[in-house]
């Protein structure tokens, strides 16, 4: 038995709910918790106070890029946890490969974008049945695109493009190297200046080869599905620059995002 009896442990319920006890006290308290339901009720009531303090403490803007990241984390959780035999439009299981998780994450990002377009399901009451049905149908289409990509098997390359800075933009490029189709998804990327656009480059033998043009929305997200990419050998990296609208044959500004292809 610890130096505490249950009565004195009761006095620690508030500190426990705040996560402020030492490791030893926490162990003793949790042992008591398991044998005393009234102690659990005591903790639960303090947790309601915690919740009130949380909301009254103010909120921070939780921007769409962060939401996409959170949704992606949940998706990877889903991938790991649920064999989900009843769920449709899931890519074939191929084991815990990093790209499979990333692709599932992209699916969720896609659904987030679809949701935005479907009428701003910002408030709880707007999550209507009709939206869910349309989203599900649209998701099925997107899922087919993903399955096409996943069908690439070992010919699928995933390139993570990064930048520097405090909250840098980022991008993922999914590239079926056999069929030469790709999907890109950028986040925390502010929209290009007026009259400008972002351009993807593939670096072949050190020379930038022009590729897809795209732009991001006000929320910093960009998604281009199923565009054409070269299939050739010798490509070692992908990069993004900001160019005049219409694109350029050669980069005219410094590289904004860059990532190397995984070596095979």
């Amino acid at each position: 038995m610890s130096p505490h009896d249950d009565a004195s442990l009761r006095d620690l319920a508030a500190a426990y709910a705040l996560g402020g006890l030492s490791a030893e006290e926490t162990r003793a308290f949790e042992a008591a918790l398991a044998r005393d339901p009234s102690l659990a009720a005591e903790v639960a009531s303090f947790r309601e106070v915690n919740a009130l303090l949380a909301e009254a403490g103010g909120t921070l803007p939780a921007d769409p890029a962060l939401k996409a990241r959170v949704m992606a984390r949940v998706a990877s959780e889903k991938e790991r946890q649920l064999p989900a035999p009843g769920r449709t439009a899931r890519p074939p299981a191929r084991g815990p490969l990093p790209w499979a998780i990333a692709a599932a994450a992209l699916l969720v990002v896609t659904s987030a974008l679809l949701y935005r377009d479907l009428g701003r399901t910002r408030t709880e009451l707007q999550v209507t049945r009709a939206d869910l049905v349309s989203a599900r149908d649209s998701l099925a289409v997107q899922a087919q695109t993903l399955v096409t990509l996943l069908g690439a098997g070992e010919d699928l390359a995933v390139v993570q493009l990064t930048a520097t800075g405090a909250e840098p933009p980022g991008m993922r490029l999914f590239w079926n190297q056999r069929t030469g189709r790709g999907v890109l998804q950028a986040y925390r990327l502010p929209p290009a200046e007026a009259g400008r656009i972002y351009q993807l480059w593939l670096i072949r033998d050190g020379v930038p080869v022009p590729s897809q043009l795209f732009n991001s929305g006000e929320d910093g997200l960009a998604l281009v599905a199923n565009f054409t990419l070269p299939t050739g050998e010798g490509i070692t990296a992908a990069a993004v620059t900001e160019e005049p609208a219409g694109g350029s044959p050669q980069p005219t500004t410094p590289i904004l995002l860059i990532g190397t292809l995984p070596t095979t």
Binding site: D11, L12, A13, A14, A15, A17, L18, G19, G20, L21, S22, S38, A40, A41, A44, S45, F46, R47, E48, V49, N50, A51, L52, L53, A54, E55, A56, G57, G58, T59, L60, P61, A62, L66, K67, R69, V70, M71, R73, V74, A75, S76, E77, K78, Q81, L82, R87, V108, S111, A112, Y115, T121, R122, T123, E124, V127, D131, L132, A135, E167
Partner: protein, 201 residues
């Protein structure tokens, strides 16, 4: 007892968790829209690092996803559940980072945080009952005796342990524990009408 509007919202939250347990992304999305801002602020106050706070938030929703099938409304509100997860993950991360070092750091992140209690107006974009609740919490905090309020704010907002608070204040550990307990009990008694849900006894 929670009032009717709060009860309805709490029920809505619980419905979202139930749908999340069924695997619906839309439910996660709605839950995020509803709570992410407040949870992010909680995590940032404890971690004092925006990237860490965002990492915590992602972990919170991943854990909520895992545990949704086991969520029981009789054990408390969704708000309390999410707040508890957030604080636990933030404190875990703090321990992993070495909280000793953090204790010596200055409060450089402060400008990024929402106004503290007693400062600034209540968020104008929130529904009336939220603003009333926020005003009630701020009022209840303001009514606490200063030493109790200080101990509570260190525990809640900074995520300090009871012994760290004792060290910081130069007070005996027992004194800090008593102040924390009295503060929480008083808040509980004063704020019970505003609970998101009443846990079963």
């Amino acid at each position: 007892m929670a009032d009717a509007a709060a009860a309805a919202r709490s029920e809505f939250d619980a419905g979202l968790v139930a749908r999340m347990a069924q695997g619906e992304d839309a439910a996660v999305s709605a839950l995020y829209d509803r709570w992410a801002g407040a949870l992010l602020a909680v995590a940032l106050r404890i971690t004092r690092d925006r990237a860490d706070a965002e990492e915590v938030l992602a972990e919170v929703f991943a854990q909520a996803w895992r545990e949704a099938p086991r969520f029981e409304t009789t054990r408390g509100s969704v708000a309390a559940w999410l707040t508890t997860i957030t604080r636990s993950r933030a404190l875990d991360l703090l321990r992993a980072r070495g909280r000793r070092k953090r204790l010596e750091e200055t409060a450089a992140i402060e400008p990024a945080l929402p106004p503290s209690y007693g400062q600034g107006p209540a968020a104008p974009d929130r529904p009336v009952e939220d603003r009333e609740r926020q005003a009630a919490v701020r009022g209840a905090l303001a009514e606490l005796p200063e030493p109790q309020r200080v101990a509570l704010e260190m525990a809640y907002f900074e995520g300090l342990s009871q012994s760290e608070i004792a060290e910081r204040l130069g007070q005996p550990l027992g004194t800090v524990k008593t102040r924390t307990r009295l503060a929480m009990e008083k808040l509980r008694d004063t704020l019970r009408p505003y609970y998101y849900a009443e846990p079963a006894a």
